[in-house]
Amino acid sequence: MKMAILVNKDTKVIVQGITGREGSFHTKLMLEYGTKIVAGVTPGKGEQEVHGVPVYDSIKDALDNHEANASIIFVPARFAEDAVMEAIYNELNPIVVITEGIPVWTTAKFVNYAKRQGIYIIGPNCPGIIVPGETKLGIMPGHIFKPGDVAVISRSGTLTYEISKILSDHGIGQSVVIGIGGDPIKGLTIPEALKLLESDPQTKRIVIIGEIGGVEEEKAAELIRKEEVTKPVVAYIAGKHIKVESKSLGHAGAIILGEMGRPESKIKAFGEAGVPVARLPTEVVEYIKQI
């Protein structure tokens, strides 16, 4: 059975913030890739069309006229809370939040609300999700990805493109590529993505592209060590030579997170879980080939 997590070729998408510069531009690119975009929403701009997509003032109005199940959001940070809440309220799932610059208190609020409603949020401040050859809800350049059996989960944008392109150039395709975003508080985390991939028949191997700071890589390693995730994983950690202090919270942070967040901690955690950590981004492909 062919499938991938969260989205597929049948996913019907609403673009929130479709009339803005970014929203309009990426609507065009997503349509070209084959994404089924059924409607756009920008409050106050209903009755227009963007690249042939009808625009509505609200999701409710869009849903009265079209069938849709997912959303991608491009609205500016200060209007993002309302847009995300509207998407959750209307039970769109998943919701991909491209917007960057949302305050963490706001993100915490909508992510917790989405969790209670059983809805997945990807992002904010992320490149989105692509199932190569089927659909993309995101801003990544579609042509560098190829269909295959390797899932890529990443906290980065361009580094994800870099590594995915290396994989594609070596003939190794991807089942799904998820850029979960660079904000400290986010919806889908690396451990949560791993759990979804574990039950995805299309995914045979997994690449994690991590970064310094935070504890997601350590938590992911723990899942693998406890064999809750059994598919083979290869990791890369960016920022080994950047001082982590600039991202950390000092004393109060240290007491909650201990030594977690530092690159040594992440590499050690992966090591204990039997996950090879590539020294260079180009090495990821060597490890993947060995699986």
Binding site: P103, W105, S156, G182, Y236, I255
Partner: protein
């Protein structure tokens, strides 16, 4: 963004948290005036954004003008954790009977705020957690409920603080929560929170981190930045131009697009034996202005032998990036070598444009990094 202690205290004070009388000064003359206004004995505290002043022996006490001048002059000549001291807080000395610790922070992974309170303060909280865990309480807070008086009482009673004294603390718990939530803080820490010999509860330190993303709704942040004036770092100035910049210690200037790719580039320079001078991310969709600002920022470091630029054109087209780079170079008088790696959308056009201008552009990231390291070593 971290706040200076005096900025944090002012914020606390606006929300009704008691702080000692005092003021920030920028010169010895000002220090004398303030000390005489508030009356001796006073505490002299250098204002820096990072590091541990107590450990560096940089917090002093003065009983009279002579002692004050001696300490203030010494402190103004200090460099603490790489920061030159340009501002000093002069405060009324508090007679301490006991020190406590109180903080709120946002736990990013759990996506919830957490309170930490300890009946032992004044020393590092990690130390207390290790040696006296029974004196410390950590508790997640439901953001919808917030920190209420009854929750504060629960925590205080559990650590043996009761009655009227507990009420005094509880008020501060609630007020600090109010600052924390209403001002979009990521960290609000008082260490130590003290009980004076008169039984008053006073915050004698403040460590505050505010969420930079909240500036659009927290207008005081802009005022605070303006009040700071010209004391800001190169990092800060770069940020104003949409560039993320971190100074490292080497001689190879690093520019990339996207934080992850730029971090990976810094790592690669190290892996191949070079020393990165910085981390600089020009972000997505950078035009000529930002490319120019990036190169200018790196040149200000002064000790850079070569600039390595690693660009992956995703949605951003490589010919746009090349055009931006050429425009930037036209306006700048760049007298150090530039190694460019350019790949992605329209890379052939972009590379050809650069080659016409005498700049060889690599497709392979590893080769570009090796070349930059080689130049730095031979220069």
């Amino acid at each position: 963004m971290f706040l200076y202690e005096h900025e944090g205290k002012k914020l606390f004070s606006e929300f009704g948290i008691p702080i000692p009388a005092g003021e920030v000064v920028f010169s010895a003359e000002e220090a004398l005036k303030i000390a005489n206004n508030i009356g001796y004995p006073v505490v002299v505290k250098p204002q820096i954004l990072g590091g541990r002043r107590g450990k560096a022996g940089a917090i002093r006490f003065a009983e009279n003008d002579e002692e004050l001048l001696k300490h203030v002059n010494e402190i103004f000549s200090l460099e603490l954790y790489g920061e030159k001291v340009s501002r000093v807080l002069i405060e009324k000395k508090v007679d301490i009977s006991h020190e406590y610790y109180l903080s709120y922070m946002m736990d990013f992974y759990e996506r919830k705020p957490i309170i930490i309170f300890s009946t032992e303060g004044g020393i590092e909280i990690e130390e207390i957690a290790r040696t006296k865990p029974e004196a410390l309480i950590k508790k997640y807070i439901d953001p919808d409920l917030g920190m209420t008086s009854f929750l504060a009482m629960e925590i205080l009673n559990k650590l043996g603080i009761k009655g009227a004294e507990a009420s005094k603390f509880a008020r501060i718990f609630v007020r600090l929560w109010n600052v924390f939530k209403e001002r979009d803080l990521i960290l609000a820490e008082i260490n130590p929170l003290v009980k004076t010999t008169n039984g008053d509860i006073i915050a004698i330190d403040a460590r505050v981190m505010v969420d930079d993303n909240s500036e659009y709704r927290q207008t005081w942040i802009k005022n605070l930045k303006e009040a700071r004036g010209g004391t800001e770092s190169l990092e800060y100035k770069a940020k104003e131009k949409g560039i993320s910049f971190v100074v490292l210690e080497g001689d190879i200037g690093v520019i990339g697009n996207g934080a992850g790719l730029t971090m990976a580039t810094v790592d690669l320079v190290r892996e191949f034996g070079g020393r990165p001078a910085n981390f600089l991310d020009i972000g997505g969709g950078a035009g000529p202005e930002r490319v120019k600002a990036a190169i200018e920022t790196i040149l200000k470091l002064g000790n850079v032998k070569v600039i390595l630029m690693n660009i992956f054109g995703g949605i951003t087209r490589c010919d746009f990036v090349a055009q931006g780079l050429l425009e930037a170079l036209n306006e700048l008088n760049l007298n150090i070598p530039l190694v460019v790696r350019l790949t992605g959308t329209n890379e052939e056009i972009g590379r050809e444009m650069l080659e016409k201008a005498g700049i060889k552009a690599y497709t392979n990231m590893i080769e570009a990094v090796k070349k930059a390291v080689e130049i730095a070593k031979s220069g």
